[in-house]
Structure formats: C-alpha cells, structure tokens
C-alpha cells in the first residue's frame, strides 16, 4: 500500500472533507503529529464534558448584559459522575431548587433556561451573546427570571416552566461534544412545558457555535419558532415549518 502523503493525494482529499483523510503512516501506524492532534481534540471534548459551569460568572454576565434577574438552580444529579449515568436525575430539580422556584411569582409568557448539559464550554462561550441578539426581539414578551441549572438535561425545562406557569420555555443546553466541536450549543423550544413532555413535542435548533449557526441566525430562528408556537399553540412534530434538526450523532442505532 502506498503512502498518500508522499503521492500528493492527501492534500486533495483533505480539501474535500472535514474527515481525517490522507493521514501519513510510519509502518502501519499513525505519525506522532497526527496522534497528538487527535489527542488534543479528544482532550478538549473531554474537558468540555467535565469542566464545571462557572455559574456565578455566567449569572453576572447575563445580569450585566440583559438586565434580567437570574436564578441559580441545580438538578437532582449530585455531580457529573452521577449525571452521566442517571439521565432521569438530570431531568428533575433538587429540593432546594424546587423551593426557590416555587417562591417565584408565576405566569410569564416565556422562561429562558440555561442548562450545562454535556458542554459547559458551549454555555459560557455562546449563551450571553445569543441572549444579546435574542432579547431585543422579545420586547413585547413577558419574561420569567432566567434560570441557570447545573447538571441538567433538556427535560428539566418542563418542571421549571410548569412551576413558573410559563406559556413557553427555551432551554439552551451544551450539546454532546464531537472531536471538532467541543462547544456546540442547542436550543429546545417547548409550548406549555410540563412534566412528561417528549422530545417530539419540542423544536430544536442545533449547532450554534462559531463554525456553525451564528448568533444572529440562531436568534432569528428562535424568534420565528416562538411566533409559530404561539400561533399554533404547539411545538414539535405536529408543526413542520421549523426544521427540527436533531443534534448530529444522537441516532446511529
């Protein structure tokens, strides 16, 4: 078998796809540079999963840029190790957060929820900027306090939205990192959030990151989804105008 690098094929293949094609060989093995490049990408993805969200810093950033009240909440998953193995716990609030939330006044049009999910990097890098783009478009909408939730999965927005009596929820969440995308942000819009909603009853906007969907594009898609949800009084599979692109990699089986 020939060596693609020395035949000049590698660069051409690489220009056609983001896949790791045209890698050189030493014997049958990868060369040091390529091994380390891969290890760096994996290290970033791992760090994105395990780095704890800087809740205080994020809350301050959101309060400063949006002048909104921010609530700091926590799921029933005690830590990351439990979170990764018990998705059910990541979908519920812990007792302290339930109490804090039930003391809030209810009945807003919209609650914005920021959940760490599988990438705290995605949250810290993109959420303040997306909110900056989005909030000016929601001038006539009454907003509940913005909720930041640690160790949380998408469905935690249902309990939060229900407790606050919100008509609509948007959950911003860190998506499962890929090797080339450690900081991809997703947003799930749910009409009348309440416990027991399925993912088929949400609209998802995925791949919000520097190399993907821009902040302006994301805000404009969110605005459109909110408008349509209100007109149709539902979100999800029954409403087809927004492309409900599920995050890549959720289904192979």
């Amino acid at each position: 078998m020939s060596d693609l690098v020395h035949n000049g094929i590698a660069a051409k293949l690489q220009s056609l796809t983001p896949a790791r094609v045209g890698l050189g060989r030493t014997g049958i093995s990868l060369e040091t540079r390529d091994v380390l490049e891969f290890q760096l990408a994996h290290a970033r993805a791992r760090d994105a999963v395990h780095a704890r969200l800087d809740v205080a810093g994020l809350a301050a950033a959101i309060e400063t840029t949006t002048c909104s009240t921010v609530l700091q909440l926590h799921s029933a998953a005690a830590n990351r190790v439990q979170y990764l193995q018990r998705p059910d716990l990541g979908r519920q609030l812990n007792e302290a957060s339930r109490k804090l939330l039930s003391a809030q006044s209810s009945g807003a049009d919209l609650v914005l929820i920021v959940a760490d999910g599988l990438s705290s990097f995605a949250i810290e890098r993109h959420v303040p900027a997306v909110l900056n783009e989005l909030l000016p478009r929601l001038a006539t909408t009454s907003l509940a306090p913005i909720c930041i939730v640690e160790q949380a999965r998408v469905a935690i927005g249902d309990e939060i939205g229900q407790t606050l009596g919100a008509q609509l929820s948007i959950v911003f969440i860190g998506e499962r990192p890929g090797l080339s995308s450690p900081d991809s942000l997703g947003a799930y819009i749910t009409w009348q959030p309440r416990s027991g909603r399925t993912d088929a009853e949400r609209v998802c906007i995925s791949n919000i990151r520097t190399e993907g969907l821009s902040y302006t594009q994301a805000a404009s898609q969110l605005e459109r989804a909110i408008t349509q949800a209100r007109e149709r009084r539902l979100t999800g599979v029954a409403s087809h105008s927004i492309p409900a692109s599920l995050p890549a990699g959720e289904e192979k089986l």
Partner: protein, 462 residues
C-alpha cells in the same frame, strides 16, 4: 407455561431470592450502568455472584418453558420459540447453564459441533452462559466459531479480518464521501462493505450515493458491496426507483416494542430481504441483509419490559436481537458497542466486556458478527480502550470492524476504529482481508486507482 418462577441460592447463611427469570438474569449480569439505570442490577457484588451460582444450576431446558418476554405479546419471542430446532438442541438438552459453559470451552466443542448447535440455542441461553464467562472464555469459545457470508466478497473465513469503510460526511456531500472512500480503499479497508450513514433520510440521496459507489466499483472492478444506512423503508424506496442496492441495512432490537420504536417489524424485514434477494446482485453469494444492534437500545426506548412487568437486562435483550437477525441470513451484523453512551455502558471496562459478550453470543447463535469498537466523548473511554478491545476481538475472530478516517466520524460525532487500526490488527495477528479484496489490492486495478486518485475530483461522478 411457568409463571413467576422463583430462584434462590444460599451463600454462607444468607439465602438470596430471585423472583422471576428476568430478575435472575439481570442480577447475574456483570455490572453496567444501563442495568443500574433500569433499577434491575444486583445490589451487591455478593448478590451478583449468588445469582450467577443460581443461574449456573439452571437446566437449559428451563428456557424453553419460561419466557423472559411473553410469547403472547412479543413477536420476537414467538420467532425464538417457533423456530427452535429440537434436534440441534439435543446434544446439550440435559445440561445446565454452568455445564454448557464447561462444554463450550472443552475440546468436545469443535467448530463443526458448535455450528450445528446454533439453531438449537435460544438467545436467552446464550446470554445466560455468557454471564458466567470471563473475557478469555468469551474469546476462546468465539474463536472456534466461524460464520462465513458472501455477496461480492467472502467475509469471516479463518485468518481473515474485514473492514466496513464508513465514509460519512456531515452534509452527505458526494465529493467529501468519495474522498473518504478513496482514502479507505487505498489503505485496504472496505471488504466488508462501503456503508454510509446519511445525514438526511431521503430515497433520492440514498439512490445518488449508491450510484456513486457503484460507478466507482465498476470502473475499477472492485470486489465490494455498498449500503446507505438510511431507514429500511427509505432504502426500499430507493430500490424501487431502480437504485443499485447491494446490502439492505436496519437497526434491530430484542423486543417487538423496541423494534416498533425503530419503525420496523419482522414482516417488513422479510419484505426487504426478499426484495434484495430478487435483485440478484451478489457474485459469490446472496446474503443481502446488514443489521446493527447495541446493548441499551430497548431500555432507551422504554421497551425493555418482560414477563410480569419485570425489566429485562440489556445484554439478554441484545442477544434476543440476534434471533431477529439470524432469521434473515444476514451478510453482516455488528454491535455498535460504545455508541449509546455512558448511561448504558459507562467506561472502557464495561464497553470491552459488552463487545466481547455481543461477539460471542452472536457467533454462538450463528451470526457473522462484526463490531463497531467505539466510544462517545462523554463515556469514560479513550483510544487505549479502543486498541484493547480491537485486539481482543481480533483474537476472538471477529468478522469485521469499522474503518473511519482517522477514527473520527465527523457526521455521527463519535470515535470508532480507523483504516490504520485495521492495518494494525491485521498485522499483529497475521490476518488478511477477504480473499477477493486481497487479490484486488495486489492487482492492476488497485494500482490504476492509486494513479487516478491524484485527481480525486475526476473519480467522483456517478
């Protein structure tokens, strides 16, 4: 039919009770996060071994009378029971599960006898015995079993290891996919299948990609088969539109309810198999189906319940998926062992064991097992775990593995094995590609592809 049969085993002065066969099987399963999530795992290490002791004493005959998932409500169980071959079962019918382990590892269990036994075993028997086996047991028993299948290549022969070339692209861009195909072919991967997971699920895209591969295949006389892993109904629509369909893919699971969540049933699989057979596109054989499985798929669809409403462990349900597969004499079957995530298989240790269990159970039941040795970025696993499982599966005689450029699937966002990994495991274990493909790699057409690959854009038109 027995109802809510209870099992027990005494360790020291403690009597451990296991109400119902699903409970006994779940408690006897080596630890994994999915069974804990389902709330059915052993509560202590001792309880697990007590369950294994009780399971070891269980006669194999018991599995024919006590269904883990009810016969009346599940077509997979009906398939298992209705196609059970009593004559093939006869040599082991008087054994317990523990005795079956001894027999499988003995020199009595020759490759010929193991092959003859397959239709006599149910998936639950295979799963049960695997729970009593260490990794080396799973390897030594599986290595004796050869399941050979044919389409344009012959996969599964002794001394051979094939690779599925997986040239995925985030937007199904044909040029991008072709670049990965070229890369893989030039590095000796693709003899199991060139199989694309499409980003979208449309008959038109499926047909277009199939034509692209078919044109390349014919132009360079490459002995390969192709597949676009869209939903089975999408592939059938492409087939009806005249697309060159070689293998027909579907993900399958071990309960009727889980299969329903995939949008399939046995009748649909049969229809697809018949349609694929009718095209008669194979040159050395007519195995046309390609199935993927993975522990945890039933639980993730909340379709893991068995007799008496008891949760069934994910490894037993995985083995039941193999009963679905073997009804259709597939060309390829592989578990996608680390893809589903840490809530089902938490770390490299759990993924490694599951991969070897799946390979063993599949082979024991007569399937041409391959494995997607893989992990996601939120699992506690890395390339070292991949290397270890790949090497162990090579020793166990796995039919094929995946070949992904640089091990990084840029569409599905997970890490699998690479073209280079296939070269590694072939070299270290002295294995060769499928004979037809090996001959092609040594011939003029390969050399011509290498020359023309210096202008990849000219190879990309279907």
């Amino acid at each position: 039919m027995l109802n809510a049969m209870s099992f027990a085993h005494t360790v020291g002065n403690i009597r451990h009770h296991f109400p119902g066969l699903p409970t006994l099987l779940a408690k006897a399963t080596p630890e994994r996060s999915g069974d804990i999530l389902a709330g059915i795992a052993a509560k202590s290490a001792e309880e697990r071994v007590a369950a294994q002791c009780a399971l070891a004493d269980l006669p194999l005959q018991h599995f024919l009378n006590d269904q883990v998932v009810p016969y009346e409500t599940d077509e997979v169980t009906r398939l298992i029971i209705d196609t059970h071959n009593a004559k093939a079962f006869a040599p082991v019918q008087s054994l317990t599960v523990g005795e079956l382990r001894n027999w499988l590892l003995s020199d009595e269990a020759t490759p010929e006898r193991l092959a003859a036994l397959a239709p006599g075993l149910t998936p639950e028997m295979a799963a049960a015995v695997s729970k009593l086996m260490r990794l080396q047991d799973l390897i030594v028993a599986a290595a004796k079993i050869r399941v050979v299948t044919r389409f344009r290549t012959t996969v599964g022969l002794p001394g051979r290891l094939s690779a599925r070339l997986q040239p995925n692209h985030p937007t199904d861009d044909p040029a991008g996919i072709a670049a990965s195909i070229l890369d893989g072919l030039l590095l000796g991967s693709g003899d199991a299948v060139i199989g694309i997971n499409p980003a979208g699920d449309s008959p038109a895209v499926t047909a277009h990609l199939l034509r692209l591969i078919d044109a390349l295949r014919q132009r360079f006389s490459i002995p390969i088969q192709s597949c676009v892993l869209a939903h089975i109904t999408t592939q059938m629509a492409a087939l009806e539109s005249g697309a060159p369909v070689d293998l027909i893919f579907q993900s399958i699971a071990g309960t009727e309810a889980a299969n329903r969540s995939f949008g399939i049933n046995l009748a649909l699989l049969k229809e697809a198999n018949d349609a694929g057979q009718k095209l008669n596109r194979g040159t050395v054989g007519d195995n046309v189906m390609y199935f993927e499985t993975g522990q945890g798929s039933a639980l993730s669809a909340n379709a893991h319940y068995g007799a008496g409403g008891l949760g069934v462990d994910q490894q037993t349900l995985e083995a039941r998926a193999y009963a679905v597969a073997r009804a259709f004499s597939p060309m390829l079957v592989n578990t996608v062992v680390g893809f589903i995530g840490p809530e089902y298989l938490y770390n490299g240790k759990q993924i490694t064991r599951a991969g070897l269990e799946d390979h063993f159970c599949g082979k024991l039941l007569g399937l041409p097992m391959g494995c997607d040795v893989c992990y996601t970025n939120h699992a506690e696993a890395d390339q070292d775990d991949t290397d270890a499982l790949l090497t162990l599966l090579g020793a166990a005689g796995v039919n094929y593995i995946m070949g992904v450029p640089g091990a990084d699937d840029v569409m599905l966002n997970y890490q699998s094995t690479s073209f280079h990994d296939a070269l590694y495991v072939r070299r270290i274990l002295g294995l060769k590609p499928a004979p037809e493909f090996e001959a092609w790699l040594a011939g003029d057409e390969y050399a011509r592809l290498m020359l023309e690959a210096t202008h990849p854009e000219r190879l990309l038109t279907a």
